[in-house]
Symmetry: C2
Subunit: 417 residues, 2 copies
């Protein structure tokens, strides 16, 4: 029986399907199994993947109305970026220059810099200007191969600005050929007007939950010293669960506040950062079912002395994902390719592990593991053709964009020239 | 009197002319003077810059047959990449993965890996395949804003392959809208067949000089322990000078072999690497007139423990330039934007210093300081429009390509979409 496909990407020198035996995120040695098919073909109908195999099988099996020749290059799923703060006003390049000269972050904060300067700028910005700025960022991400991303609110820290940011995400989803996953992160920092009334702000965040519920899938909390401690995070999590949110947590970026225990208790979908996680908590994290999202752009940009225990996490069975954490303070990086390079260089992931982490595991980190993140029949046809012969070259040839063509739901949305 | 221009790039939010008071490379605080004109215009006729000024002056002064709107963005000279080894066969991503797993380079070398594996592959490759491969690399460089680059031979290590590589560079220069500066680097390593006859290979390199002279402007030597020591380098330099070559030197990458003294004695145009330069040699280097070319891609890729004394070099008056050192073993990086990011992060150059180092000083490092590297009247119209509002964002938003449009000799040769 011969099938007819809308589109086939043929002559894929290395087709990385990321298909796996398990339905869930990939753990341990599964992270190295990227489903490589040499001389492969991926076929698409109505925006979905309908067939994957070798060129030889394809010649026997089917025919597509349109063929795109990958010319022997690497073809793989679009990147999923499961942790970004992409909607903000202003930028903080001057602050980074100060940090590099050795000015302490506390001094920068006291002068009105740091995250609260982004909050101030974002509050003052119009919906339109915020949308236009973020659209520029997301276009760049798309051109670097990201086809699905999570975006957090959290530069508002008041109800109206948090809603404004979530509305920007809705507009972006309408305008761009990207799947966007919105996360409410009112618990990102303590706003200036609450600086001496911390508990009142925790109450405020809990108050906001029901109003923003319809606009966000996840609720995230910056569980950290100087931000939201164990008890405060716990109260917000209880309310968020009641309101029907799925849970993400920032935990262990600068200190360990017991975020992993909270994640396990509340069934978090992901726990992100993990630089300062205690080794006792690693098995707990592995059992919890949460994806561990590592953010090598932050370690790189802030020249962190302590890195997350990536190898120990993988060996313990934590499904590890990678994200840009795109934000103006600690990771102004839009490219998952650069993140893969840094994960290999700094966290000692293999190229295959980093690719699993940036696709299938990242998809699970945003609750979309059944729709994107691998080239398997029934999933969205979110596909990259990279200007590379071997996938191991992806982290190796660093600092440039290797995306030659990007497809979202079977449509070509970016092409290099 | 009203002038008429072929082309004007108008509404440059920040026009970085890199124009300076001195004709030579920029030293000390001059490296921070990037000639910023807000709301600027640069006008072009017959591929050269004929006028630079503000929008206001332009309205009074002239008119161009064609205008390109920079839409308030950053406009600057094309990057000059003064140190690359861009013509080679094979790649060595597997070797990097081994290094990251802790396998010593010596073990890799003994198994036939390392530089000699690239030599073997390059000797076996056809002129055509070498040209096609390098063309792909150079297209990527161009899309990242490099408009002039130096390319070294040195993966042949025998006369016929060294000539083949220099011929590839000639073909590339014919095919691509780039100024290419060819360098003969027969003294890059000791080929296998000479492994126990080191002196015979030095003699061989000296023999090659007259034959390759017409195809290369510079002669470069890897002055390093395990490669060419002080005495051997000295003999090659004497012969190269006699043959009419201008001089470049690899010095201080892993050890100090007195390369700076040689550079001073032989009037080298540039001394490159400098990671292990002795502090006593810095004033000598400053007096020598040579440009000090730093290679942050190498430090990053090899995770070097010792970095070059960038600040001390600048303070001593060494004109510092930056380069990718694009090569398969120690810096598979094609983008000068990534190099600028790393120079700011790791070598603590300011954004302005790094931009001077990647343009005007890099131009002097390849003996083209009078033709490229700044937007001054009479120079080539090699110009970038970056998708940025402020030049300080260039090192800050890292890992992506910010080039929106690239012009070579007044012609648009790359455009982002």
């Amino acid at each position: 029986m011969s099938a007819s496909f809308d589109l086939a990407i043929v002559r894929c020198g290395e087709l990385l399907t990321l298909g796996g035996r398990s339905v869930g995120p990939r753990r341990r040695s599964e992270m190295s199994e990227i489903g490589l098919i040499r001389d492969g073909v991926v076929a698409i109908s109505r925006g979905k993947i309908v067939w994957v195999g070798t060129q030889k099988e394809y010649r026997r099996r089917g025919r597509a109305r349109r063929e795109i020749d990958a010319e022997g290059r690497v073809v793989m799923p679009g990147f999923v970026d499961p942790h970004t703060h992409a909607v903000f006003a202003g930028s903080r390049e001057g602050e980074w220059a100060e940090k590099l000269r050795g000015v302490p972050y506390l001094e920068i904060l006291q002068r009105g810099g740091g995250i609260l300067s982004t909050v101030e700028a974002t509050r003052a910005a119009s919906l339109k200007s915020l949308t236009e700025r973020a659209e520029t960022f997301l276009h760049k991400m798309l051109s670097c191969g990201t086809t699905t991303l999570e975006i957090k609110s959290g530069y508002g820290l008041d109800l109206s600005t948090e809603i404004k940011i979530l509305k920007v995400i809705e507009r972006l989803a309408d305008r761009l050929p990207l799947d966007l996953v919105p996360t409410f992160m009112g618990a990102h920092a303590i706003p200036k007007e609450y600086s001496d009334r911390f508990e009142a702000y925790v109450y405020q965040v809990i108050e906001m939950l029901s109003t923003v519920r319809s606009r966000a899938r996840f609720c995230d909390i910056f569980c950290e010293e100087g931000a939201f401690g164990y008890d405060q995070s716990r109260r917000i999590l209880e309310a968020a669960k009641r309101a029907g949110f799925e849970i993400k947590l920032h935990a262990g970026e600068f200190s360990d506040q017991g975020g992993v225990r909270l994640a396990a208790e509340f069934g978090a979908v992901s726990v992100d950062h993990l630089d300062h996680i205690q080794s006792e908590e690693i098995p707990l994290l592995a059992q919890s079912g949460a994806v561990g999202v590592l953010l090598p752009g932050v370690s790189h940009f802030l020249m962190a002395k302590q890195l997350p225990p990536a190898r120990a996490l993988i060996e313990a069975g934590v499904p590890v994902a990678l994200a840009t954490d795109f934000n103006p303070g600690s990771s102004p990086c839009l490219s998952m390719q650069e993140i893969i390079h840094l994960a290999v260089r700094d966290f000692k992931l293999s190229a295959a592990e980093a690719i699993s982490a940036a696709t299938i595991n990242a998809a699970h980190a945003v609750g979309m593991g059944d729709q994107v993140g691998s080239l398997e029949v029934g999933k969205q046809a979110d596909i990259l053709i990279l200007d590379l012969e071997h996938y191991e070259e992806l982290p190796y040839f660093f600092g440039v964009n290797h995306a030659a063509k990007v497809f979202k739901k079977g449509k070509m949305v970016y092409q290099d020239r």
